[in-house]
Amino acid sequence: MEETLHAEKRFLALLADGSFWLQRDPATGLAVFPPRLRAPGHGGQLTEFQPVSGRGTIHAVTVQPNRPPKPARIIVLVDLDEGARMLSHMPDASPEDVAIGDPVVARIVTEGETPMVVFDPAP
């Protein structure tokens, strides 16, 4: 039997292929994250997954120190230009160069088994 990929696995499969795509809620035009079977709040149909720009703004940041030589983890909440907010981290940034309001750009990496979207300071 052919497996139907539901929203979570579809999103992760797209990420594994190098594509950061999200569904949109036609009622608001905004991107939805995390992916869902129907729109959060009202249960309406969502669009198919569509590309997002990967551009966003830091809404909040916390730095979690580690024992050297392991670098500190920079944890951010990013507001995507398309409207969704996601938790992520910034593996290549320096803590002193990251602040609320800074523009960032997305990049897909796989550290463990699950691919994820991380962010870099916008050039």
Partner: protein, 386 residues
């Protein structure tokens, strides 16, 4: 019809309350600690475990703890509520117990909790799990969620590390008056501010303790409670709100669901913030106290930092907050919510010793679960306020 007008104001009451094994309780399991707190609360109420027909349980790591607890007690309750909205579970239990008691479905409700996390593992035992979207980022949670909210509060309102340290300083001030508190030694603002950063802007001194501890509360209908051996403590109002699970989905990082549950619980009770003599709230992190005081209406949004820095919540201040020393200095056995209820009861009974708030007749308890995700508020009174 509305929640506020339909809540059974004052028709149910706490008739027994107890704590057990606060701090370190080596050699006991979480189940045994919850059981012992339950027995002590029933002793306090002059009731027996055989009287209990409503059992309300959320154990630290046993998802089916409600079943284990019923078996341990050797009872077959008509109603077992295993609701697990994190540290707010027990305040939700009290709301559900009030509804079932008032409907006449049950006669005696026992809410109980225990954790041996300090002596068993030395770490916070948390039921919080990350989604496939959040977990790979390796953020230390729950502290990271609260740190993000604190960072945003500082950005939007100018709240400072010093403001947060004042929350911890006030909690220690109250703990010094409470023989049950785990951390009672003197400290200073400078000492609190010099502790190691865990997740910026939060330091060790901004984080709750990791202790063992158990607590329990017994509730009945108020009219049935006349023969109680201790002053009965009527539940005047209660309300809860869940706004999200993971911090990225919080609608506004600086406004919690306490802005919903608090006004609703106070409206059900027919009181306003000015009527409340003491506030017991779940201070898992110092930012919680700031956020909840704002959202519950004790100071304007954004002013929480300046409010706590004024000394208002410390012993001798205008608004006694966490008079037992809170999760920051009294005890924090994983899910702390029930301890906010026990301390409110002790204050309203006038049995709080050196930390007793004089002339108090209304107290508020507020619980928090997840990463500011679940909020539940209770308003307790004395018999005179019903």
């Amino acid at each position: 019809m509305s929640w506020e007008s339909r809540f059974p104001r004052g028709r149910t009451a706490v008739v027994g309350a107890a704590t057990y094994g606060l701090g370190e309780c080596a050699g006991a399991s979480a189940l045994e600690m919850a059981a012992q707190a339950g027995y002590l609360a029933l002793d306090d109420a002059g009731l027996s475990i055989a009287d209990v027909d409503g059992l309300f349980v959320a154990l630290p790591s046993d998802l089916l703890g409600g079943l284990a607890m019923a078996e341990y007690f050797g009872i077959q309750p008509s109603l077992v509520d295993n609701n697990r909205t994190g540290g707010s579970s027990f305040l939700c239990h009290a709301i559900h117990a009030a509804l079932a008691l008032d409907a006449g479905l049950i006669d005696v409700a026992l809410i109980t909790y225990g954790s041996n996390q300090r002596t068993a593992s030395g770490k916070l035992v948390s039921a919080l799990t990350g989604s496939p979207y959040e977990a790979p980022h390796g953020a230390r949670m729950p502290v990271g969620g609260y740190a993000l909210a604190a960072a945003r509060h500082m950005h939007d309102f100018g709240t400072t590390k010093e403001d947060l340290a004042h929350v911890a300083l006030a909690a220690r001030g109250w703990a010094k008056l409470n023989p049950e508190a785990f951390r009672r030694e003197d400290t200073t603002l400078e000492e609190l501010l010099s502790t190691r950063i865990v997740s910026s802007p939060l330091s060790v001194s901004d984080c709750c303790l990791v202790t063992d501890g158990a607590a329990a509360v017994v509730m009945t209908r108020t009219d049935r409670a006349k023969s109680a051996r201790r002053p009965v403590v009527p539940l005047l109002g209660g309300a809860a709100s869940v706004t999200h699970k993971e911090i990225a989905a919080m609608p506004d990082l600086t406004v919690t669901g306490a802005a919903i549950s608090g006004p609703r619980a106070m409206a059900a009770a027919g009181v306003s913030p000015a009527d409340i003599g003491a506030v017991q709230l779940y201070d898992a992190f110092t930012i919680n106290t700031v956020l909840f005081l704002e959202d519950l209406g004790f100071c304007p949004k954004g002013e929480g930092g300046r409010f706590v820095s004024s000394g208002a919540i410390a012993p001798g201040g205008a608004l006694p907050v966490n008079t037992n020393g809170g999760g920051l200095s009294c005890n924090h056995p994983g899910m702390y919510g029930l301890f906010t209820m026990v301390e409110a009861v002790r204050q309203l009974r006038g049995e709080a010793g050196d930390r007793q708030v004089p002339g108090i007749d209304i107290a508020l308890s507020h619980g928090n679960g997840g990463v500011l995700s679940s909020q539940a508020t209770l308003v307790f009174g004395t018999e005179a306020t019903v």
